[in-house]
Subunit: 280 residues, 4 copies
């Protein structure tokens, strides 16, 4: 970030402050307006997908869509211009989302075939990714994020073992129930197993034979019991983080000689310099 930084232009820095920054008044205002526009744009896409609404307001929503795409494109170009590290921004999570949320409308222009246009119009809904930007503004998300990162390997192991269980139960039910009871293939049975083990339970496919119902019951109890595992993982991770923070905050006592903090409550001597903490 530091090495590739170009010579500071006043304009570029101001734009960077407004678009990327949160400290200045203008920066905060920009963010609020951006969020409002994202919400309006996503709402327009949602309304456009309703048959009866499109019949009446289709033209207006199309114009609105165009307007927002132009505005978001200008915003994207300004981001590209003002960022201190182009490569980092373009390939960052938000850089990719920023690009993907303006692309669909342009693709619809390059290939103006009617058939394609319909597909692309539907693709515009990917614009909703833009709403993910809202995340950026929430500080508290970091604690959750770091807890999930800390638990990512345990969660992967858990997800993998659930997948194994799902495949096994899916195959078993295909053998037991068979195509005549709606379990037409193992992939279809695996879909059923996911629906069952996650306790969603649509009921579009359900076992009919006694043995099938018995195995399905086992699958349900499995799914019901193992949900406890990721919950325990994340709970323990969050708890450990909260405790670590508490340990830090409750030890505000400062050593008078070396200014070291983070002493235990029963500490009488500084753990860093060995002097008494309180002269009392």
């Amino acid at each position: 970030m530091g090495s590739e930084k170009s010579t500071p232009h006043t304009l570029k820095l101001r734009i960077n402050d407004v678009i990327f920054g949160y400290e200045s008044r203008a920066g905060r205002l920009f963010d609020v307006i951006l969020i409002c526009m994202i919400v309006i744009s996503v709402t327009a896409v949602l309304l456009d997908s309703i048959e009866s609404v499109r019949a009446v307001y289709g033209e207006f929503l199309f114009q609105l869509e165009l307007l927002f795409t132009v505005l978001f494109t200008i915003e994207y170009l300004l981001r590209l211009y003002s960022t201190s590290n182009l490569r980092r921004y373009v390939f960052s999570f938000y850089g990719i989302i920023d690009l993907f949320s303006i692309l669909p409308t342009y693709i619809a222009f390059l290939f103006p075939t009617a058939q394609y246009l319909i597909v692309i119009r539907i693709m515009r809904v990917l614009r909703i990714f833009r709403i993910l930007k809202l995340f950026r503004y929430m500080g508290e998300a970091n604690l959750l994020y770091s807890a999930l990162i800390g638990a990512r390997r345990k969660i992967l192991v858990f997800l993998f073992s659930v997948l194994t269980l799902i495949i096994i139960f899916g195959a078993l039910m295909f053998i037991i129930e068979g195509p005549e009871n709606g379990f037409t293939s193992i992939p279809e049975s695996i879909y059923w197993a996911i629906v069952t083990i996650t306790t969603v339970g649509y009921g579009d496919i359900s076992p009919n034979t006694p043995l099938g119902q018995f195995v399905a019951g086992l699958a349900m109890i499995c799914g019901y019991a193992i949900i406890a595992v990721p919950t325990g993982i994340i709970g323990a991770e969050l708890m450990a983080e909260v405790q670590q923070r508490n340990r830090r905050t409750r030890n505000d006592r400062e050593c008078v000689s070396c200014k070291a903090k983070d002493h235990d409550l029963d500490a009488r001597f500084c753990k860093i310099c060995g002097n008494r903490i309180h002269q009392a």
Copy 2:
């Protein structure tokens, strides 16, 4: 509360004691009677909504409804009269519920058109908000409440990210499955996504294409895994509170000689310097 307080009337104070207080015998009796009346009133509304019951007991239930509304109105007026801070009560959570639980019946009188009356009669069910009053009497609720307040920002971040996920999955399924498979619009697909990710799974709308079933499976596993997040948040928050309380009880005692803290509750001598903690 102190500044706006009028000169103390004996009657006003007594009513306040009975209606708002819990300490006196009369206050407790009033609360018990009030709870009984609320339960009876809500039950009457429930019964009135059953076609066959209303055909036979409709008139009686209407009279009962009127009687309770009159009684609750008198109670509300007494609360307004006896409260030490009118504005605070009226705009408090319970003040608003108290008002809303008597309003519907009166609105039915002001606009006596038959058509309106039916709508208003149904609105009377809002009276059930009154049952929320029961909460006031439960002390343990406070711990839960403060844990939820402490976790409110994390829960908001979580709810927001779940909503984003729901919108994305809804839009994806609209593209994949389309109106011919029941996903008539993106809002309808979002409804499906909520039903799926929360693992409710009515089955009124369910995917039919293999790709749709695959994406639906992903949505289910997502919903199944992320339920762990709020659970972990609240568990960690409650746990931290329980620990803090334990720690407080434990740390309140200080050794007079060496100022060491964190002694067990049954400790008579300082664990660090060996002197008596309490000279008693």
Copy 3:
């Protein structure tokens, strides 16, 4: 228990040892046989309820049922005879279950009308309560039990607030969807709300109007989020108990002067007598 105890008969004490005790060889053998008989008896009731099985083995199962009832009755009488405290046993949890698990068959004899007999035969399934006896033999259950007892008030508050939520959502959906969409009465809507908020989601009743689907979505997200509360409560309770136990066990160090235990890891002086714990 001590005061009402009759003079010790050798027979009575031996029976008590076998029936109530776990220490002797005979006592353990009795328990194992009892559990086997309970499982066989419950299985027989389950099989008897299947139409095709009853048609063939109905007579045999009826005889088996009679045999088990006689045996369990003898066992119950022996328990009454040998218990050291009759009143305590009869009104204990297991005393009541022991009685209820033999009563149904006898009631069928006293009122021998065919019509009644069928009702009573179905009532025999209450015998399954007997299986609850198995619980008695599991020690680990106590930790769970005490955690649930410790959390009982928080759980009650939680259950009550969920019930309030269910009633409110039920009434709201009755107003919004109405009888023409399957929400025939408020109790029926409350049933729907339970099905939805607990994320069971049968789909026998489901919202059809956009507003109904929106409110249903809110109910689902509520149900999905608040499941975290009891989990957090019980998790925190269990965690606190585990920690308390750890604190106790990891402090096995004993004071040489006064034999007091349960010292902190950093304690140098006995918290009870003030002497050094380790002379080292």
Copy 4:
């Protein structure tokens, strides 16, 4: 393992290193290739179960199946040859899975009747057990595993009490709803109770009478509330393990002068006596 070890052959040791080991380059390459082959093989079985795919690629998939079975058989024989402890490997978890994942295809050859062949072809899906091998490579799984082992008795008590609840609710609903509402027998009702209490909720069987819906509502709330128990158990277990690990890292350092423990990781001086902990 040590006592039964035969005299070391260079070839045998090398094979053992490649097949069982993870340290050498060849060993890691072997594992990666094995995992790829397992995934391809399972995918082939999944595709083969789809009617339309088998019609076109059935012959090719059959050949692939044969090839993989031969390869996996060679691998199994090499494992038998190179293992340092034959008995331990054959009866280990993975030894049994290794055998079961090649057996089905051979059984299809020994009994070449067409009818049997179909059954056996379906049995081949048991090969998916092979995917469980993937587990071996994940280190993080151990923490989860030991937490589950630590909580196994509590989980058993929980599962048993859930089963009791399921049988009781199943029997109750059979009495209340009866065969005319789809509750054809107690086993069928128990299947319904599992579907309901685990919050799966297919809706293939659902209560119709008001009393039945009331009892079903109770069952749902039960299921909704008790899911908190295993979650709490596993969360507490994981949390205790994380804490124990933290405590161990923290407590390993001892002050040489006063023997105080529990120093922070960055502490250079004893917090109790002020002397250097490490003379380094």
